[in-house]
C-alpha cells in the first residue's frame, strides 16, 4: 500500500458522500456518508451485497449519478478537481480520458453495429489524444497485452463475433485507450465462466500494473477481490463496514458482518451415506439432442434418485440446461429416452399426462422472469395445487399458506403481494414454493442461486436442503459454481461440450485423480488466498 500521508500520490478523495435515490416522490439515501481515498496506481476492492451501493459509489467516483439519483452532500475530488460541482463540459473532458469505466456486461455495453476497433478509437480521437491511425495501431498492441487471440485482426470483428471473455478483455483494452489515471471495474467477471474468468482477471491485473493505473474494483465475490485489490472496503446498505488492506482483511476481519460474509463459503451439508438407492426416479438414457442440425447433447446418460442431489456442472455451452429441457420435454431428443420411475416418458411435454407433468418441476435461474409479474402470490403458488390436486376455496388458501410457511415467508403479510414487491431472494423462494405446490418427486434447479448474493444464496441452499429431507425429493442441480456443488451435492456430473466427462459421488470428485477438464474447473475456482492467482498462473505456465 502506498503511503497515505503523501498528498502527491492522492488521486481520488471522497468525503462524507451522501447520495439519494427517488422512489414514490420521496428521496431516500442510498449512500450514507462514505469516505474513500485512492492513491495513484492503487487498486481498491469494493464488496457488498446487491443494494449495498457499490455501483452507485463507483459511478459517483466519476462524478456521475444514475437518473433518479442525486448527490446530496459531500465532496468528490479527482486530482484536485471538484467533480461534484464541475461543469458538464469540464467533466466530459475527463471521462474516457483520465477516468474510464468497465461495465459488468460487455455484451450489453458494446454497440453491436460497430466493429471493436472503431469503438476503441472513438475516445482517443474525440479527446484528441491520438489520430485514428495511431489509435488503431495502439489497439493492436493493447489487444496483444490483453492476450486476445489474433490481436491484429480481432478488432475488425463485430461484438457478436467474439466470445464473452474476449469481449470483456476488449472492453478493458478500450478503457485503457487513453491511458487513464483511474478505471472503475463494475463486476467485470461476474457473467463469465470460471475458466474464462481467470484469463480476464490475469489480463486486467497485468495491464493495471503495467500502466500504474488506479482502479476501483467492484464485486460481490470475495475470492476475486482478494486477487485483484490492494485494499478492500466492505459496504452494507450504503455505509462502510470496514476497510483494511487485503491481507489484513482476509486474515482477521473485525466486524461481524464481514465475518459472516467470509463464513458463507464454508457451508456444506452433512454427507449422506450411500443407501440402497432403488430405482432412479428419473434417468436419462443415451440421449442425443440439439437444435436443428447442431448437436448439443451427445449420447448422455445419468440417473437421479429420490432424496439425493445430483449437481450437473460445466461451462456455458456444455449442454447442462439442454439436458434439463430434454427431461422436462421442452426439447424432444433425437435419440435416447427419459425414464420416470422406470417407465419411459413421452418425449414431448404436450403428450405427457397431468401426473407426469406434476412429478417433474423446475426452478428457474432468473426468478424475475419466471414469475408472472401481474399475478399475486396467492395465484402464483396456488395454481399448481388447484390444477393438479383439485384444491378449491378454503383448502386451496390453507395449502398456499402452509407453502408460504415452508419457505419461511409470513402468509398474512405476503399472500396478496405481487412479485415486484419482493426481494430477489424472496422471489426465488416463491419459485421453490410453486414447484413444491405440485407435490413432485423430482425438481430441476437451474442455476437457482447464481443471480443471488452469497448470504441470500446460502439461505436458499439451506431451504432446498431441508425440503429435500422433509419430502424426499430428487434434485437435479445445474450450476457452474463449484462452491455450490460442494455445499449441496451428493453426486456430481461434469459436462463439457455436450458430453459427460466424469460422474460419481461428490467426495470422489473433489479428490484426485481428476479428469483433466475437472482438474481445470476445480483449479479455476478462485480461493481466498491473495497469492492464489499468481501461483496458479505460475504453475500453469510451468506445465506448459
Amino acid at each position: 500500500m502506498a503511503d497515505q500521508n503523501n498528498a502527491q500520490d492522492r488521486l481520488l478523495t471522497i468525503r462524507n458522500l451522501w447520495i439519494e435515490g427517488q422512489s414514490e416522490d420521496k428521496w431516500s439515501p442510498i449512500i450514507k456518508g462514505v469516505d474513500l481515498d485512492l492513491n495513484r496506481g492503487e487498486v481498491l476492492g469494493l464488496i457488498g451485497e446487491s443494494g449495498a451501493g457499490k455501483s452507485t459509489l463507483g459511478l459517483a467516483a466519476m462524478g456521475f449519478t444514475r437518473d433518479g439519483c442525486r448527490i446530496s452532500d459531500g465532496t468528490v475530488e479527482f486530482d484536485g478537481i471538484d467533480l461534484r460541482n464541475a461543469q458538464a463540459g469540464e467533466r466530459r473532458a475527463l471521462l474516457g480520458k483520465r477516468i474510464a469505466y468497465v461495465a459488468q456486461s460487455a455484451a450489453a455495453s458494446f454497440n453491436p453495429a460497430h466493429k471493436l476497433i472503431d469503438q476503441y478509437s472513438e475516445a482517443p480521437v474525440v479527446h484528441g489524444v491520438m489520430s485514428k491511425q495511431q489509435a488503431e495501431t495502439d489497439a493492436t498492441s493493447l489487444y496483444e497485452q490483453m492476450q486476445l487471440p489474433d490481436p491484429g485482426q480481432i478488432g475488425f470483428r463485430y461484438p457478436h463475433q467474439v466470445s464473452g471473455g474476449q469481449l470483456q478483455r476488449a472492453m478493458t483494452a478500450m478503457a485503457m485507450a487513453c491511458r487513464p489515471d483511474l478505471i472503475i471495474f463494475d463486476e467485470p467477471t461476474t457473467a463469465l465462466d470460471v475458466t474464462t474468468q481467470i484469463e480476464v482477471l490475469a489480463a486486467i491485473r497485468n495491464i493495471v500494473k503495467e500502466f500504474n493505473t488506479a482502479a476501483i474494483y467492484i464485486t460481490h465475490d470475495l475470492a476475486v477481490v482478494a486477487q485483484m485489490a490492494d485494499r478492500i472496503k466492505v459496504l452494507l446498505k450504503g455505509e462502510e463496514v470496514e476497510e483494511a488492506d487485503t491481507r489484513t482483511m482476509l486474515s482477521s476481519p473485525q466486524e461481524d458482518y464481514t465475518k459472516s460474509l467470509w463464513a458463507v463459503r464454508s457451508y456444506a451439508r452433512a454427507e449422506q451415506e450411500e443407501t440402497d438407492k432403488g430405482t432412479p426416479v428419473v434417468s436419462v438414457r443415451n440421449v442425443t439432442a440439439g437444435y436443428g442440425d447442431a448437436i448439443v447433447l451427445d449420447d448422455v446418460s445419468f440417473d437421479f434418485y429420490q432424496g439425493r442431489t445430483v449437481a450437473v456442472v460445466g461451462e456455458s455451452g456444455s449442454g447442462k440446461s439442454t439436458a434439463a429441457r430434454v427431461i422436462t420435454g421442452l426439447l424432444p431428443p433425437k435419440k435416447g429416452e427419459v425414464l420416470f420411475d422406470g417407465k419411459v416418458m413421452p418425449a414431448d411435454y404436450r403428450s405427457r399426462d397431468r401426473d407426469q407433468l406434476r412429478q417433474v418441476q423446475m426452478i428457474y435461474q432468473m426468478a424475475d422472469t419466471a414469475l408472472n409479474p401481474k399475478l399475486r402470490l396467492r395465484e402464483l403458488i396456488g395454481r399448481p395445487a388447484q390444477m393438479y390436486l383439485g384444491l378449491k376455496g378454503k383448502a386451496l388458501e390453507e395449502r398456499v399458506r402452509s407453502l408460504l410457511d415452508l419457505i419461511e415467508l409470513e402468509p398474512d403479510q405476503y399472500i396478496d403481494r405481487l412479485p415486484s414487491e419482493l426481494s430477489g431472494g424472496q422471489k426465488q423462494r416463491i419459485g421453490i414454493a410453486r414447484a413444491l405446490a405440485a407435490e413432485p418427486k423430482f425438481i430441476i434447479c437451474d442455476e437457482v442461486t447464481s443471480a443471488l448474493d452469497q448470504l441470500v444464496a446460502e439461505g436458499i441452499l439451506r431451504l432446498l436442503d431441508n425440503l429435500q429431507s422433509e419430502f424426499n425429493l430428487g434434485y437435479m442441480f445445474i450450476t457452474h459454481d463449484l462452491a455450490t456443488v460442494r455445499a449441496i451435492a451428493d453426486d456430481v456430473v461434469v459436462m463439457q461440450q455436450g458430453r459427460v466427462v466424469e460422474q460419481g459421488r461428490k467426495a470422489a470428485m473433489f479428490q484426485p485423480p481428476h479428469h483433466p477438464y475437472t482438474e481445470l474447473l476445480l483449479s479455476s475456482v478462485p480461493e481466498m488466498d491473495p497469492d492464489w492467482l499468481s501461483e496458479l498462473l505460475k504453475s500453469r505456465a510451468a506445465a506448459g
Binding site: Q22, G68, T328, G329, L330, Y349, R352, R354, L357, M362, Y364, M366, T369, A370, L371, N372, P373, K374, L375, E379, R383, P384, M387, R434, A438
Partner: protein, 307 residues
C-alpha cells in the same frame, strides 16, 4: 389585438379545464372508498379532466331522450335559425333543433364508435395472442391475411365493402371493426411474442395449462399497457372514420343524428361566418383529447416511469 384576445381565450379555456379537473378530482377522492381514492389522488389534472369529459359524454348519450328538448328528427322551425332562447344552438338545414341533434349525436356516434373499437379489440387481441402462442402455420396464415388486408388503403377498403354490403349500422360496425382489427392484431401479436419467450410462460406450459388460460391469465395482463394505449388512439381513429364516412354519405344514415354528418349538412353556414357547424366537430375533438389524457395517465402508471 385579435390574436391577443384569442390567446387569452385559449388560456382561459386551459385554466378552466384544469380547474374543472381539480374540482372533479377532489369530489371523486371524497366520494370513493379509501383504497381507490388513493390512486385518484395521484392522478394528474389532465387525466381527471379527461375522465370528467368522458363521464359527461356518457351521461348525455345514455339520457339523450330525457335531456334533449325536441325529438331526434323532428322539424321544429325554419331552416338555419340563429341561436335564441327556444333553439339554444339554432336549427339545421332542415329546421331541426341543433342542440337536440348534438345530444342524440353523442349517443349514435360515440356509441357506435365504442362498439366498433371494442369489437376490433376483442377480435384483434384474441387472434393476435393466439397467433403468438400457437405459432407455426396458424401464425403464418393469420399474419399474412392481415398483411393483405392492410395493404389496401383503409378508407378505400371500407368504402368498397360498404358499397357491397350496403350502409346499415350493422355493416358499418362490422366493416370498420374488421379493418381496425388488423391493426390491433399486429400490435397484440408483436407484444405477445415478447412475452411468450419468458420463463413464466414456459413454466405455465410445462404445468399443462390450456391455451385459453395462457392467453387470458398469463399473457394478456402483461400486454395490457400497450393495448390500452392503442385502444385510446384507435377509438379516436374509429370516431374520425365514422365521421369521415358520414361526411361522404356512407356512414350513419339520415335522419339519425351523427356529428360527422352534421358538419356536412350545415357546412354552408361557415361561409356566412356562423360557427354552428364547428360544434359537432368540436365535440369530436374534445372527446378525442379527453380519451387521450386518460390513456396517457394509464400508460404512465403501468410503465412505472417517474416524471
Amino acid at each position: 389585438m385579435s390574436t391577443l384576445i384569442s390567446i387569452l381565450w385559449f388560456a382561459v379555456a386551459v385554466v378552466g379545464a384544469m380547474a374543472l379537473g381539480w374540482l372533479f378530482r377532489a369530489l371523486v377522492v371524497a366520494v370513493l372508498p379509501q383504497r381507490r381514492a388513493h390512486e385518484m389522488r395521484k392522478a394528474p389534472l389532465t387525466a381527471s379532466f379527461g375522465i370528467l369529459v368522458i363521464l359527461v359524454y356518457v351521461l348525455v348519450a345514455v339520457f339523450a331522450p330525457v335531456i334533449a328538448p325536441f325529438g331526434e328528427s323532428e322539424v321544429v322551425g325554419g331552416e338555419f335559425l340563429p341561436w335564441d332562447s327556444t333553439y339554444l344552438l339554432g336549427t339545421d338545414n332542415l329546421g331541426r333543433d341543433m342542440l337536440t341533434r348534438m345530444i342524440y349525436g353523442a349517443r349514435n356516434t360515440v356509441g357506435i364508435a365504442f362498439i366498433i373499437t371494442a369489437l376490433a379489440f376483442f377480435v384483434g387481441t384474441v387472434l393476435g395472442l393466439l397467433a403468438a402462442v400457437v405459432g407455426g402455420w396458424l401464425d403464418q396464415g393469420l399474419s399474412r391475411s392481415v398483411d393483405v388486408l392492410m395493404a389496401i388503403p383503409s378508407l378505400i377498403f371500407s368504402l368498397l365493402l360498404l358499397t357491397i354490403f350496403g350502409t346499415s349500422v350493422l355493416s358499418l360496425v362490422l366493416v370498420i371493426a374488421t379493418v381496425d382489427a388488423t391493426r390491433v392484431f399486429r400490435l397484440a401479436r408483436s407484444v405477445a411474442q415478447g412475452i411468450v419467450v419468458m420463463d413464466y410462460i414456459e413454466a405455465a406450459r410445462l404445468r399443462g395449462e390450456g391455451k385459453w388460460r395462457l392467453i387470458t391469465r398469463e399473457i394478456l395482463p402483461n400486454a395490457m399497457a400497450p393495448l390500452v394505449a392503442e385502444f385510446g388512439l384507435r377509438f379516436c381513429f374509429v370516431f374520425l372514420a365514422i365521421s369521415g364516412l358520414s361526411f361522404l354519405g356512407l356512414g350513419i344514415q339520415p335522419p339519425t343524428a351523427d356529428w360527422g354528418g352534421m358538419v356536412r349538412d350545415n357546412a354552408t353556414l361557415i361561409t356566412f361566418g356562423d360557427l354552428t357547424p364547428f360544434l359537432p366537430a368540436g365535440a369530436i375533438a374534445l372527446l378525442t383529447v379527453a380519451v387521450n389524457f386518460v390513456v396517457d395517465w394509464q400508460l404512465h402508471k403501468s410503465s412505472g416511469l417517474k416524471e
